[in-house]
Amino acid sequence: MNSLRAKLVLRMVLVVSLFGLAVSGVFHVVTRSLLLSDFEHELETEMTFVTGLTKVFPDGDVYVDLDSEVVTEYGLEANRLYQVWDADLAEVLDRSVWLEQTSQFVALADEGEGPTIVVSRFDTVLPDGRPARAHLKYIDAQWGWFDSEPDKDVNESVRATAVWLLVARDRSELNRSLNRLMWLTVAMAFLLPMLAAWAVRWTVKHSLKPLSAVTEEITSIRSTMPAHRLHETWPVEIRPLTQAFNALLERLNSAESRQRRFAAAAAHELRTPIAELRTVTDVALRGQAKHDRLTDALRQCNAVSHRMQETMNGLLELAKQQSHSNLTPNTSVNVTALVTELIEEQRGFMQKRSVNVEMSPLASIMIDSHEPSLRMILNTLVSNAVVHCPVGSNVLVTLANGPLRVIFDNDAPALSADDIEHLFDPFWRPATSTTPEDQCNEQPHFGLGLALAKDAAEQLGLELSAELKDARIRFEISSRILSGSVPDPITPEVDSP
C-alpha cells in the first residue's frame, strides 16, 4: 500500500477500534458487576431486615412480623418475596402475602436432594414464571414477646426456635438492564470502529490538506517564475519540506542563471570572431581585384577559424571536466619546479611587458596529484597574472606547505569588487581590461581559463579563490579536505633543496 493516507487511516482505525473495544469491554464488565453487586447488596439488606422481623411467639408460632406499610410491598405481584421454613425445611411456617394469596411456594434450589441446604444464594423462578434471585439463611427466630413482656417465662424449646428464611427479589428489571448493557456494548463494538474510521479519515484528510496545498503551489510554479518561492507560513511539520524545496529552487535557479550566463557569454564570445570574419570577407570582396588583399583576408579567416576552434576546445574541455571523465592516476608532482617552469615559459612575454615575477620560497614542495590538471591550473594562474597585470609591475608568487598554498599576487587597478564575483564565470572578461588584444596575440584567451582552472581544482580537492584588496588581486590555490568524489587527497611533502 503506497498511500500514506490509507496507511495512516488503517493504523489509526485499528488502534482506536482496539482501544474502543477494550474500553467497551471493561465498561461492560464493570457496569454489569456494579448492577449485580447493587442487586445482591439490596437483597442482603433485605435479608437482614426480614431476619429482624422473623419472630417466634410463646405459643411456638413463627411468622414475619411486618408493619402494615411494609406488607404492601410484599403484596400482590410484589417484586419482593420471603418464605420461612422450620429448621428441618419440612414445613413452610410463613410466606409473603402474594404467595399466600396465590397459594404458591418458592421452590428451593436443591429441591428433591434432601434437607441439607448448601446453596445460600441462587437464581430461581417465581411461581408465575418470573426470574428471581434468592438468599437462604438459617436463623434464630427473634422472641416475639420480648418487647411487650420481657420477663415472661417461655419454654426453652420455643426460645431456641431456629428457622430457614428465604428472601427473593424479582430480577426481571435487572435482567433487562443487563440485556441493554450487553446490546449497548455490542453496538459500541460495531459502531466504534466505524466512527473511528470516519473520524480518523476526516482528521487525516484535513490534516493532509496542507500537503495538497503545497503540491498545488508547487504545481503552479511555471518556468517563467524563477524568483517564486513557497511561503514560510506552512505548519511546522511541512516547513522543513517547503524550506528544502525552496533551497532546491534556489540551486536550480542558480544553475539556470549560470547556464543562461554561459549561453549568453558563449554567444557574445562568438560574435567577435564572426564579426571579424564578415568584416574581413566584406572588405576583401569589395577590393577583390587586389590579389594580395584576398590572400591576406584568407590568412585572417584562417586565423579566426583557429581561434574559434580554440574556443570550442575550451568549451569541450570545460564540459569534459564538469563530467569528471578525464582523470588519470595521480603522480608525485614538484609544485615549486612546476611553477618555476611555467614562469620560465612566460619569460619572453614578461620581458615584452616589463613584468617581473618574484617567487618564494624556492624549497621543493612535493604533492601527490594529477599532474596535467595541476599544470593547467597553475599555467592559467601564471599567464593570467603576467598578461593582466599592468605593464612594468611585479607579480608575487608565494608557495607554502601544510596545507599546500600557492598564491599569485599582482596589481589589478582596473578590477572592481563586483568583478571578483564573476572571475570564474566562463567567458567573463572585465568591462575594461588593461591589455589590448594586440599585446595578447601571443597569449590568446577566451575567458575560459579561470573557469576551467576552478573546475579542475575542485576535482583535485583544491580550492581556488580570488580576493581583491588595495587594488591588488590575489589568487590562492590551497588544498582542502573534500568528501565524495575527490580522487585522492593531496598530500604535501617538502624536500630540502
Binding site: 567577435t272 574581413v280 568591462a431
Partner: protein
C-alpha cells in the same frame, strides 16, 4: 571625411580601416580607450566608430567625456552587446547610432554616410549645387548630367567642401578631415589636390567652383 575607429580587435580594426579608406575616408585607429579618447580630443573627426568593451577605458566612458567636453562628433557604437538595455544605454550616453556585431560592411558604410549627412544637416544623399551634383552614396560627381571622374582624395576634398559650402573651410581643417595620421600633410599636398580638383570640375570660361579666400581658406561656389 576623417573617421576614428576605436576597437580592440586587431583584425576588425585593420579591416574596417581598409574598407573605409577604400570608400574614400581618412581613417585613424586606436586599440584602447585611452588612446581613443586622446585622438578624438586632439583631432577633429567627422565620425567616431566606437567599440564599448575596450581595454583601459570603455566606450561609454569615452563617449561621456567627449560630450562633457562639448564635442559633438557623430559617434557610431559598434558592439557585441545586443540587448535593448545596452542599446538604450549607448544612445542615452550620447551615441548617434548603434550597430551590433556581426554586421554587414555595406550597412556600416550606409550608417556612416547617414550620420555624416545628418551632422551636416543634409536631408538627401544627392546634393545639387548649381550645375553640379554630388552623390554621397555612390561617391560620384556630375556636371550638367555628365559624370566627372575624380580620384578618391579629390572626391573626399570636394565632398568636404560641398558639405561645408555655407562657410569658409581652412587649410588646416582640410588637412584634418581629408588626411589621416598616416599621411604627413604638407601645404603643397592640399594645394596640389585643390588644383587637381579644379582642373577636373571647372569649365573653361566659367568661374571656378572653388573660391579661394586669401588668408582664410576655401569655399565651394554654389552658384
Amino acid at each position: 571625411m576623417r573617421i576614428l575607429i576605436v576597437e580592440d580587435s586587431l583584425m576588425l580594426r585593420e579591416n574596417l580601416a581598409i574598407g573605409l579608406r577604400d570608400a574614400g575616408y581618412a581613417v585613424d585607429t586606436a586599440a584602447d580607450g585611452i588612446v581613443g579618447l586622446e585622438l578624438s580630443t586632439d583631432n577633429s573627426y567627422d565620425l567616431v566608430v566606437l567599440d564599448i568593451q575596450l581595454p583601459g577605458l570603455d566606450g561609454l566612458a569615452i563617449l561621456e567625456r567627449l560630450r562633457k567636453q562639448g564635442n559633438k562628433v557623430p559617434v557610431l557604437m559598434l558592439t557585441a552587446r545586443d540587448t535593448v538595455q545596452d542599446r538604450v544605454l549607448g544612445l542615452r550616453s550620447g551615441a548617434d547610432d548603434y550597430l551590433v556585431k556581426p554586421f554587414d560592411f555595406d550597412e556600416l558604410l550606409a550608417r556612416i554616410e547617414a550620420l555624416i549627412r545628418r551632422h551636416h544637416k543634409e536631408a538627401h544623399n544627392r546634393i545639387i549645387t548649381g550645375a553640379m551634383t554630388v552623390d554621397l552614396d555612390c561617391k560620384q560627381v556630375s556636371r550638367d548630367g555628365v559624370d566627372v571622374p575624380l580620384a578618391p582624395r579629390e572626391y573626399a576634398l570636394l565632398e568636404f567642401l560641398v558639405l561645408n559650402r555655407s562657410r569658409v573651410v581652412t587649410r588646416s581643417e582640410i588637412e584634418e578631415h581629408i588626411y589621416d595620421e598616416r599621411v604627413e600633410p604638407m601645404s603643397n599636398v592640399v594645394d596640389s589636390a585643390m588644383s587637381s580638383l579644379r582642373r577636373a570640375i571647372d569649365q573653361t570660361g566659367e568661374p571656378s567652383a572653388i573660391i579661394t579666400r586669401r588668408g582664410l581658406g576655401y569655399q565651394f561656389n554654389s552658384k
